[in-house]
Subunit: 204 residues, 2 copies
Amino acid sequence: MTEQDGKKEKIIEVALKRFSHFGIEKTTMNDIADDLNISKASLYYYFPDKNSLFLEVAISILSDQLEKQQKSLENANSIPEGLMQMIEARLAFAEQFHMMRIQDLQIDYFYKDKRFIELREKIREKETVIIEHFLDAGIERGELRELDAEKTAVTLNDIFMGIGISRLHICSGPNSLELSKEVVDSIRNSLKDVIDLIYNGIKK
Amino acid sequence: MTEQDGKKEKIIEVALKRFSHFGIEKTTMNDIADDLNISKASLYYYFPDKNSLFLEVAISILSDQLEKQQKSLENANSIPEGLMQMIEARLAFAEQFHMMRIQDLQIDYFYKDKRFIELREKIREKETVIIEHFLDAGIERGELRELDAEKTAVTLNDIFMGIGISRLHICSGPNSLELSKEVVDSIRNSLKDVIDLIYNGIKK
């Protein structure tokens, strides 16, 4: 790692703490420079604006999250167990980083910068591929009937995200920053029922 | 119908036109009084505030919508056909009244008045009961296996709403008033896949 890479990494690490505690709108580049004990000019040398820094923070935690989802599927003994563990990983992520509103790039703010839209699309695609491979493995070992794993993965990902967003939305309002234990439990229970229902149709 | 009822109904009818064209935030009680050619005072005699009037408008169109959903299920020849027709009824409603953001009471505005939250809950319950009876009939005529119709109805309703909200949200942003043909098509296609997937698990 070059010295410059090390410095960038340190900035991302410190910025993550601010963003995850106060959210993007209430965090300033000044706050982050102060936390790092560097001048604003030298922060801007590495990141031309707050969105660019936030984007790197988002990429960093979403990459970790993809890895966790992947592992939760790899360690599962059955399709429903794996899908539920994947959902647990997503719920834990939503709880940890809710102030950043990043689990689905929920806030209007993000829609002004198309890099965030692109990032979300990329993450969704990768999640779908992870699920697809997991389903393929299930078909191969005879747990699942022959099915279109790609299409089923897209549908499952749609449902997982859809129920998450709609529950958040219904319980807390579209722009709320709250994510109570009740909401998380209600998303979990709802998705458990979905998996039971669908598993019945795809098992061999 | 008493004269007073007739007058109230006329107000609701005229207000509906305004609200569905301009949305709730951009419509004033003045606008509605002008449309009706009555004084603001006499409008306030029937409805104490804009929210009370909007609530009556919402109840009126949502009752119609429940009836349409019910009919779409009654006229269906099979479970997947009925569910798709129910979804078509919902999509048509979303397209027609999108400016009112009422299909799922999407905007922050509604969260300040708990009558809207209660109305939404009531509508969701009624939709779930309609689906439950439809599934029960499917079990009775041997199209579906024995299943917990109530629980399955809740799950289906969750999925229908979840995918609708998340697609709107993802394609247009959480606070957008747009509802393009592309978004509607993408919701329809996604839900068609869901129904195919689930039907496989619940048919006999």
